[in-house]
């Protein structure tokens, strides 16, 4: 067994990353990122700024976008729609988890 240890880094809304870091972390090209922003699938922290920054969880959004586009051969508009649905399902699942957690176990 190796003794190599390394810290896992948070990917969430509290962590801010630059446009270049987002491209590197997600494996997306600059054009792909601009296209996602243009179609409303990805929102910079301040869209009016000349230098876009993003929250850490955008890495997950962009990785999902790349996966959906390549696996389903989606055009940018269909991709933005699919991502909106994926995000909405995620929010509904979180709400469902919260409500289920409040139910007594024997009712589950």
């Amino acid at each position: 067994m190796t003794n190599e240890r390394m810290d896992a880094l948070w990917l969430d809304a509290h962590h801010e990353i630059s446009f270049t870091q987002l491209a590197e972390s997600s494996g997306a090209s600059a054009d792909e990122l601009r296209e996602l922003v243009e179609h409303g699938a990805l929102t910079p922290t301040d869209p009016r700024s000349t230098e876009w920054t993003f929250t850490g969880n955008c890495v997950v959004t962009v990785r999902t976008a790349r996966r959906l586009r390549s696996d389903f051969d989606l055009d940018p508009h269909a991709l933005a729609l699919a991502l909106a649905f994926v995000s909405r399902i995620g929010a509904l699942e979180a709400e469902l988890r919260e409500l289920r957690a409040q139910l007594p176990r024997r009712l589950l």
């Binding site: 240890r5 390394m6 896992a8 948070w10 890495v59 990785r63 389903f72 919260e98 409040q102």
Partner: protein, 322 residues
């Protein structure tokens, strides 16, 4: 090398045309894609489907695959004798590659600095592949943070552009406060970059194992707290187990079933020392499954004496309807 029947995976005849291959893939992708399907086995099934499509959609790869003949899935086979010689320079490694790596090598060997058939070289940096794995941890590990042993087998290109599966073993420190659905990144722990390209990243998708006592919502914890009818009516103090140790909780008189008693900051810690979620004890009124004669007599006496009508509002509603 083990044979995989890509046609069977996609539910196709061997003479299927390109359109039929695409349609079969799309249908199965919609069914099993991990972003779409809730089937726990969906991800593995989708990998098989994607691997089959990756080869069959490309005319060159499909022709090469067809040359392997038809075998049973999982059956050991040797590629035709002239194959190794023909494709060796394109980055194929027959001994320890699986079929997917072999066909990835057919495209990869031509792009990744290998000598392509015409002798043309491509020395552009190729970034290593990113990988995503699910990491199951216990609630106690999420509460304290943990060291997770990772044993992975990652396809990588060696210095000759040959694709091989490389075992990777290391420990990842999971900070306290990671909860269900949290994603964490291990930079540079994915596939190795080629020709100076950056190493890929490894993403951990955290999933919490179910706990026998607690239910989790974000960073909040929920516990069922059964109370005897007299404890709920009269009020009491009870010991409640939390992840940080037992806590004495005051139950006020007249506590009803379903009431949530909150212990602020006793849930899971939040990232970056931003406090912690809350702990909720949800009251249940429990009655003894069997009663002794004395208990039965006391309950009867209570029933005779009490004027409490738990369904009084039914009658009130009925009156209002008249």
């Amino acid at each position: 090398m083990k044979y995989k029947d890509y046609y069977k995976t996609l539910g196709l005849e061997r003479n299927a045309d390109a359109d039929a291959i695409k349609k079969a893939y799309r249908k199965l992708a919609r069914k099993y894609h991990p972003d779409v399907s809730k089937d726990p086995a969906g991800e593995e099934k989708f990998k098989d489907v994607a691997e089959a499509y990756e080869t069959l959609k490309n005319a060159d790869k499909r022709a090469a695959y067809d040359q392997l003949g038809s075998h049973q899935s999982g059956q050991d086979f040797r590629p035709p004798p002239d194959w190794e010689k023909r494709y060796a320079d394109n980055g194929f490694a027959f001994d320890d590659a699986d079929l997917a790596d072999l066909f990835a090598g057919l495209a990869g060997g031509r792009q990744r600095g290998g000598q392509a058939g015409g002798g043309q070289r491509f020395d552009v940096p190729i970034p290593g592949q990113d990988f995503e794995v699910s990491a199951q941890i216990s609630l106690e590990d999420a509460y304290r943070g943990t060291l997770l042993d990772l044993n992975l087998s990652i396809p990588e290109y060696d210095e000759n552009g040959r694709l091989r599966r490389v075992p990777r073993e290391f420990k990842a420190r999971i900070p306290k406060g990671a909860t269900d659905g949290q994603r964490l990144r291990l930079p540079g722990k994915g596939g190795k970059g080629f020709n100076g390209g950056r190493d890929g990243d490894l993403y951990l998708d955290i999933a919490l194992n179910p706990h026998p006592l607690y239910r989790v919502s974000g960073h909040d914890l929920y516990l069922d707290l059964p109370l005897a009818p007299w404890e709920a009516a009269l009020g009491t103090r009870v010991e409640v187990p939390t992840l940080g140790g037992n806590v004495r909780l005051k139950i006020p008189p007249g506590t009803v079933a379903g009431q949530k008693l909150r212990l602020t900051g006793r849930g899971l810690p939040k990232p970056r020392a931003e406090g912690a979620g809350d702990f909720f004890a949800i009251v249940q009124i429990a009655v003894p499954a069997t009663l002794s004669e004395r208990e039965q007599a006391l309950f009867k006496e209570l029933a005779d004496v009490s004027t409490f009508d738990p369904r009084g509002h039914f009658k009130q509603e009925a009156k209002n309807d008249k």
